[in-house]
C-alpha cells in the first residue's frame, strides 16, 4: 500500500481509544472515509479509516485494533486518500493480506493504477443479462442448478460440511462449454482457519492454476477489521481483470459468515442500533455492494462471477446471513447434512438449491435441447420418491404399490448415481444428462409427462440396452 503521498498532516490530540476506535481532534482537510496512518509510541505503524468527520472531532477505526495505543505518544497522520488497491497484470499469481500487502515473499506490486476498493456501481442500463453456461463438471449443478457467467451463486453450508472441497472442485473444473478460455480465479479467505486457506492455495498450486489466480488471505487470527476490506480488495482485483484485462473471473469468497460477524462486531463498537440478531440494519446494503459487483457489461469482453460461501449458524436458512444473501444472489446451492450422513458427495440439497439464471443458460446452443425437460422431470421424480420415503416411514413399506417401489428405488439411484460423484471426477453436461435418462428408463414411460415426446424418442435408452 505504498501509495503516493500528497500532503501529510498529523495530530497527537487523541482523546479516546477504545476497542478499534480512536476519537481525535479534527484537522482541516480530513476526508470522510479516508485512510490514515496511526503511529504508536513504540514506532509501529497501523492503518485506520475515518468513519465520521466533524468540525471538532473525527472518529477513526484502526485496522489491527487499538492495543498499545497510548494517548500521549501516538500520532495520527492524514494522507488524503481512500483505501486503494494497486493494480497491474502482475497481481496474477500473487497472494496478499487483508490490507493488500504481499505475503507470499514476493516483491511489492508496481502499480499501473490505484483503484478504490469500494468500486463504482455499474449503470443498470449498461448491464447484460448473464446467459453463458459454465460447465462445472458437477452433475447437481450442471444438470439442476446451472451457473452462468456474471452470476452470483452462494454455497449455503453448515459447519463440518464439505463446502471447501466442493468450491475447490468448482474452481478446478469450471470452464465455458465449447470454449477453451480459462477463468482467472480470485480467492478471498475471510477469517477462516489457516488450514482452510492453505487448502485452497495448495489446490490452486497442484492444478497449476496459481499463475492465473490472486489470493487475499485474512485468517481467523488476523485483525477483525480487515475482514471487511479483504473481500473488497478481491472484488477490486476481479473487476480490474474483467473490465480492463478482458478476463472471465471467478471470485470465491469464504466465509461470508465471518465477514458478517465482523460487521456486527464493529457496528456494536460504534454503538449503532442493532437490527435482527444484533446485525446492523444496513447489512443487506453492505452485502449488496459486494455481491452486486458480479455481472456482465455490454461491450466488454470480461465478466465477474461470484461464488460466496457461508456457513449457516445451526443450519438455519432463516438466519440473517443466509437470508439477506439469498435476497441478493441469484439463487443458492444448499448443502445437506442428511445426504452427507449417507456419505454422498457432493451433498447438495436438490430441493432447497436453486439457480435463478438457469433458464437463460441452458438449452440448444448452450447445453442441449432436452436440458430443461430433463431438469423438470428429474426434480419431479426425485420429489415423488422422497415423498414416498416419508410416507413409508409412517405407514410401512408393505403398504406401497409396485409403482411406488419403483419411485423409491429411482430416488435411491438418483442419489447414488446422479448426485454422487467423485471429487476429481469431471462430467460433461451430456454425461450428466445421460445419467438422468438412464434413471428415467426405470419409471413407467407414461409418467414422463414433463418431457416432450420427440426428446423421449431421441434420448430414452431402449429397453434392454439400459444398464
Amino acid at each position: 500500500m505504498e501509495a503516493r503521498q500528497l500532503f501529510t498532516r498529523e495530530t497527537k490530540a487523541i482523546s479516546t481509544a477504545r476497542r478499534s476506535l480512536l476519537v481525535i481532534e479534527s484537522i482541516p482537510g480530513i476526508r470522510y472515509n479516508e485512510i490514515v496512518e496511526v503511529q504508536l509510541g513504540t514506532g509501529e505503524n497501523r492503518v485506520g479509516q475515518v468513519i465520521e468527520v466533524g468540525k471538532t472531532t473525527t472518529v477513526v477505526q484502526v485496522f489491527g485494533g487499538v492495543s498499545e495505543v497510548d494517548l500521549l505518544n501516538s500520532r495520527v497522520r492524514y494522507r488524503g486518500e481512500t483505501l486503494k488497491l494497486p493494480v497491474s497484470p502482475d497481481i496474477l499469481g500473487r497472494i496478499f493480506d487483508g490490507s493488500g500487502n504481499p505475503i507470499d515473499g514476493g516483491p511489492s506490486i508496481v502499480a499501473s493504477a490505484y483503484h478504490d476498493i469500494n468500486g463504482v456501481p455499474a449503470n443498470p442500463a449498461s448491464r447484460m443479462p448473464p446467459a453463458e453456461f459454465i460447465e462445472t463438471g458437477i452433475s447437481v449443478m450442471d444438470g439442476l442448478n446451472v451457473l452462468v457467467r456474471g452470476q452470483k451463486l452462494p454455497l449455503f453450508s453448515g459447519s463440518g460440511l464439505p463446502h471447501n472441497r466442493i468450491a475447490a472442485q468448482i474452481v478446478r473444473q469450471a470452464a465455458l462449454k465449447r470454449k477453451a478460455e480459462e477463468f482467472a480465479i480470485v480467492f478471498a479467505a475471510i477469517g477462516v482457519s489457516f488450514d482452510d486457506a492453505a487448502y485452497f492455495i495448495a489446490n490452486l498450486e497442484e492444478t497449476g492454476a496459481l499463475n492465473r489466480a490472486v489470493g487475499f488471505i485474512n485468517t481467523a487470527s488476523s485483525p477483525v477489521i480487515e475482514r471487511l476490506s479483504t473481500p473488497r480488495l478481491a472484488l477490486t482485483a476481479a473487476e480490474y481483470l474483467a473490465w480492463e484485462r478482458d478476463m472471465h473471473v471467478l471470485v470465491v469468497l469464504t466465509d461470508i459468515t465471518n465477514y458478517c460477524d465482523a460487521l456486527r462486531e464493529l457496528a456494536a463498537m460504534r454503538g449503532e442500533i442493532p437490527s435482527r440478531r444484533g446485525y446492523p440494519g444496513y447489512m443487506y446494503t453492505d452485502l449488496a455492494t459486494m455481491y452486486e459487483r458480479a455481472g456482465r457489461i455490454s461491450g466488454k469482453e470480461g465478466s465477474v462471477t461470484i461464488l460466496p460461501i457461508l456457513t449457516m449458524p445451526d443450519d438455519d436458512i432463516t438466519h440473517p446471513i443466509p437470508d439477506l444473501t439469498g435476497y441478493i444472489t441469484e439463487g443458492q446451492i444448499v448443502l445437506s447434512r442428511p445426504l452427507e450422513r449417507k456419505r454422498i458427495y457432493p451433498a447438495i440439497d436438490v430441493f432447497l438449491s436453486l439457480s435463478r439464471m438457469m433458464k437463460e443458460g441452458i438449452g440448444e446452443g448452450n447445453t442441449r435441447e432436452d436440458h430443461n425437460n430433463v431438469f423438470m422431470q428429474s426434480y419431479a421424480m426425485y420429489a415423488e420418491g422422497n415423498y414416498l420415503r416419508e410416507i413409508s416411514t409412517v405407514i410401512g413399506s408393505d403398504a406401497l404399490s409396485d409403482r411406488d417401489r419403483i419411485y423409491l428405488s429411482a430416488a435411491d439411484r438418483f442419489e447414488r448415481e446422479f448426485i454422487s460423484q467423485g471429487e476429481f471426477e469431471r462430467r460433461t453436461v451430456e454425461e450428466t444428462l445421460e445419467i438422468a435418462w438412464n434413471i428415467f428408463s426405470m419409471i413407467p414411460r407414461e409418467d414422463l409427462k414433463l418431457i416432450q415426446e420427440k426428446y423421449i424418442q431421441k434420448y430414452l435408452p431402449k429397453k434392454g440396452k439400459a444398464q
Binding site: N33, V53, P121, P129, R276
Partner: protein
C-alpha cells in the same frame, strides 16, 4: 452558502444554512453531490445525500438551489430508464460510460429532441389548469397529452403546431395581463400528490393476465396491493409479469434496491416482448426506474415518489397507469438507515416510528379519479409493492404496516416454491377487497356465472386443505370416495388453473374470458365426475379418463383454437354422462 460541518455515512450536517427550507435540494461539496435537506436547527441543516459521500471534507461548500425536489414531466419519459433521482441512465452511458460516477448531472428529458405537437385548442380560447391543449405522439402506444400546468390558465394568445423541444414555447397565455409561455415540459414536486377533481370508486378490473389474481383475487384499476414473499418465492417474476402484461396504458417499473442482473433482464426483455393487445413493443408503454441495491441507499427513498409522481401525471391525462415497486422493504431500510444516522428513537426492529405513515403516503397516491380540466376524463393509478420479509416471517414491521394500508394481498409461499408451484401466490392467505366491486365488472363484461364459479373453486381449495391434514395422519387410502373426488378436482384447479408458466408463450398471459372458461370447465368436470361417481365409478377410474389430460392441456392451447377446444371438451363431458363413458 453553507459549509460542511459533519459527515456520517449518507448524512451530512452543514452550518451557516440560515434561510434554507426543509426538503430543499442542495449541492454538497466541491463535487456538487445532490442532497436534500431533511431537517433544520438554528443555522444547521441536516442533509441526506443521494450519492456516495466518501472523500467529503469539513468546510466544503453546500449550496442551496432554492427548490424542493422536482420531477420533470413531459415527452421523453416513456421507454427511458432513470435512477432514483430521475437522472437518465441512458444519457449517462453516453456522457460518462458504464459506471456511475459521482456528481454527474443529466436531464430527465432530452433538451434537444424535437417532438411533433398538435394543438387541440386555438388562439382566443380560454383554458384552465389541467386542460388538454394538444398532443404529442410520444411512442406508438402513448399519445402524450399536454396539459396546462396546475395553478396556471388564461386566454390563449398564440398556439403553434409543429416540432418543438421540451423547452420551446408552444403557446402563449395571457395571465393576469402578462404574456406567459407554455412549454411541453412541466415540473412537479415529487413529494406532493398531484391534484384531481374527485376520487371515484375503483370498480374496473385491472387485467394482469395472471389467472389467480384476475379471477380469485382481482385487483381494481386505481387499487393498491402488496406482494410479500421470502427469497426464492418468485416475487420478482410475479411483478415482472404484471408489468409486462397488465392491460393498462402505461406501466412504471421501480426497481428499488434490487438485483442489477434482474434489472438488466427486465430492460432487455421489454425491448423484445410485445403487448398482447396491440402487438407493439412493451418498451413503448413502460418507464423504468432502476436504483439497484449497490447504488446509493438514500436515493431509494425518493425513487418511489418520483415513480408515483410520473404515474399521477399520466393518470391526469386520462390514462390507466400501473406502478410496480420492487421492493418496498429496501425502501424502508433506507429510511431506517437515515433514521439511525440521525439518532432518532427507533420503533420496531430499528425502523423509524413513522414507517407506517410514510408507507401510507406512498400507497395513498393510488386511485381512480376524475381528472382536472377539460375535456372531462377519468384516469387511474394502481400501485403494487413487493415486500421482502426477513426469513419469510410476515410478522415483521414492513409487512404488517403495509397490510394496514393495502386492499389486496398476494401472499407468496415458500412451500409452494419448493414444490415448484408457480406463481406461488397462496390461495388460502391471499385476499382482495375488490372482489365484490370488480365482480360486477366480471359479471357484466365476461360471464354472469363468475361469482358462482369463483366461490366453488375457493370452497374446494379450502376443503382440500382440511382433508390434507387428515391424509397426513391416515394416508389417502382411508378417505371415502367423495372426499377423494374432491381432492382430484382440487388438484386439477391447482395444477391446471392456478399454476401458470411465465415462460410459456401462450400460458404467460390469460385474458379474462379464457380464464373463466378454463375454471368453469374444471368445475363442470367436477359435477360430471360426481354423477359418474354416484353411478358407481371409482375415483381411481375417473382420474384415468382420457379427458383429464385434455383438461390439463387447456392452458397451452393457442388463442385461436381455444374456443373449439373447450366446446369439444364440454360436448364430450355431456356425452359421457349419457353413455357413462363416451369420449372420455
Amino acid at each position: 452558502m453553507g459549509r460542511i460541518w459533519r459527515v456520517s455515512g449518507p448524512v451530512v450536517i452543514a452550518e451557516e444554512m440560515r434561510g434554507s427550507q426543509v426538503y430543499e435540494v442542495v449541492d454538497v461539496g466541491e463535487e456538487r453531490l445532490t442532497g436534500e435537506i431533511i431537517g433544520l436547527e438554528q443555522d444547521k441543516a441536516v442533509i441526506q445525500v443521494y450519492e456516495d459521500t466518501v472523500g467529503l471534507r469539513v468546510g466544503e461548500p453546500v449550496v442551496g438551489t432554492g427548490e424542493i425536489l422536482m420531477c420533470e414531466l413531459g415527452p421523453g419519459m416513456v421507454g427511458n430508464i432513470y435512477d432514483g433521482v430521475q437522472r437518465s441512465l441512458v444519457t449517462m452511458i453516453e456522457d460518462v460510460g458504464d459506471f456511475l460516477l459521482r456528481g454527474i448531472r443529466t436531464d430527465a428529458l432530452d433538451r434537444n429532441k424535437k417532438w411533433e405537437f398538435n394543438p387541440t385548442v386555438k388562439a382566443g380560447d380560454t383554458v384552465h389548469e389541467g386542460d388538454i391543449i394538444g398532443t404529442v405522439p410520444e411512442t406508438g402506444l402513448i399519445e402524450h397529452r399536454i396539459m396546462v400546468p396546475i395553478g396556471r390558465g388564461g386566454k390563449i394568445l398564440e398556439i403553434h403546431k409543429g416540432r418543438f423541444t421540451v423547452l420551446d414555447t408552444i403557446a402563449v397565455l395571457e395571465e393576469n395581463g402578462d404574456r406567459k409561455p407554455l412549454t411541453l415540459m412541466q415540473r412537479w414536486p415529487a413529494r406532493k400528490p398531484r391534484l384531481y377533481k374527485r376520487r371515484l370508486d375503483p370498480v374496473n378490473l385491472l387485467v394482469t393476465g395472471t389467472r389467480i389474481i384476475d379471477y380469485l383475487f382481482p385487483l381494481a384499476l386505481g387499487g393498491k396491493a402488496a406482494i410479500p414473499g421470502g427469497f426464492g418465492t418468485g416475487k420478482t417474476v410475479a411483478l415482472q409479469q404484471m408489468a409486462r402484461w397488465s392491460q393498462t396504458q402505461l406501466n412504471i417499473y421501480v426497481g428499488c434496491g434490487e438485483r442489477g442482473n434482474e434489472m438488466a433482464d427486465v430492460l432487455h426483455s421489454f425491448k423484445k416482448l410485445r403487448d398482447p393487445g396491440t402487438d407493439r413493443l412493451l418498451q413503448e408503454k413502460e418507464i423504468f426506474i432502476a436504483n439497484t441495491s449497490n447504488m446509493p441507499v438514500v436515493a431509494r427513498e425518493i425513487s418511489i415518489f418520483i415513480g408515483v409522481t410520473m404515474a399521477e401525471y399520466f393518470r391526469d391525462m386520462g390514462y390507466d397507469v400501473l406502478l410496480v415497486a420492487d421492493s418496498t422493504s429496501r425502501w424502508a431500510e433506507a429510511m431506517r438507515e437515515i433514521g439511525a444516522r440521525l439518532e432518532e428513537t427507533p420503533g420496531e426492529e430499528g425502523f423509524p416510528t413513522y414507517l407506517g405513515s410514510r408507507l401510507a403516503t406512498f400507497y395513498e397516491r393510488s386511485g381512480r379519479v376524475e381528472c382536472m380540466g377539460l375535456p372531462e376524463r377519468t384516469g387511474s393509478a394502481t400501485v403494487i409493492g413487493s415486500v421482502s420479509p426477513p426469513g419469510a416471517d410476515f410478522s415483521e414491521p414492513v409487512t404488517q404496516s403495509t397490510l394496514r394500508i393495502v386492499d389486496a394481498l398476494y401472499s407468496l409461499d415458500v412451500a409452494l416454491a419448493n414444490r415448484r408451484h408457480f406463481p406461488t401466490i397462496n390461495w388460502l392467505q391471499s385476499y382482495s377487497l375488490y372482489s365484490d366491486s370488480v365482480g360486477k365488472w366480471w359479471k357484466q363484461e365476461v360471464n354472469p356465472e363468475y361469482h358462482a364459479v369463483r366461490d366453488r373453486a375457493l370452497v374446494t381449495l379450502q376443503r382440500e386443505a382440511e382433508l390434507e391434514e387428515i391424509v397426513r395422519l391416515v394416508g389417502p387410502e382411508a378417505l371415502p370416495e367423495n372426499d377423494r373426488l374432491l381432492l382430484l378436482i382440487a388438484r386439477m384447479i391447482r395444477e391446471d388453473f392456478l399454476m401458470q408458466s411465465a415462460y410459456h408463450p401462450v400460458d404467460t398471459y390469460t385474458p379474462p374470458a379464457r380464464g373463466h372458461l378454463m375454471l368453469a370447465t374444471i368445475i363442470r368436470f367436477g359435477d360430471v365426475a360426481r354423477e359418474l361417481s354416484e353411478q358407481g365409478m371409482l375415483v381411481s377410474e375417473i382420474s384415468q379418463l382420457k379427458i383429464v389430460p385434455r383438461i390439463s392441456r387447456m392452458k397451452d392451447v393457442p388463442l385461436e383454437e381455444f374456443d373449439k377446444y373447450i366446446k369439444d371438451l364440454w360436448s364430450d363431458m355431456e356425452k359421457a354422462l349419457t353413455t357413462r363413458e363416451g369420449g372420455m
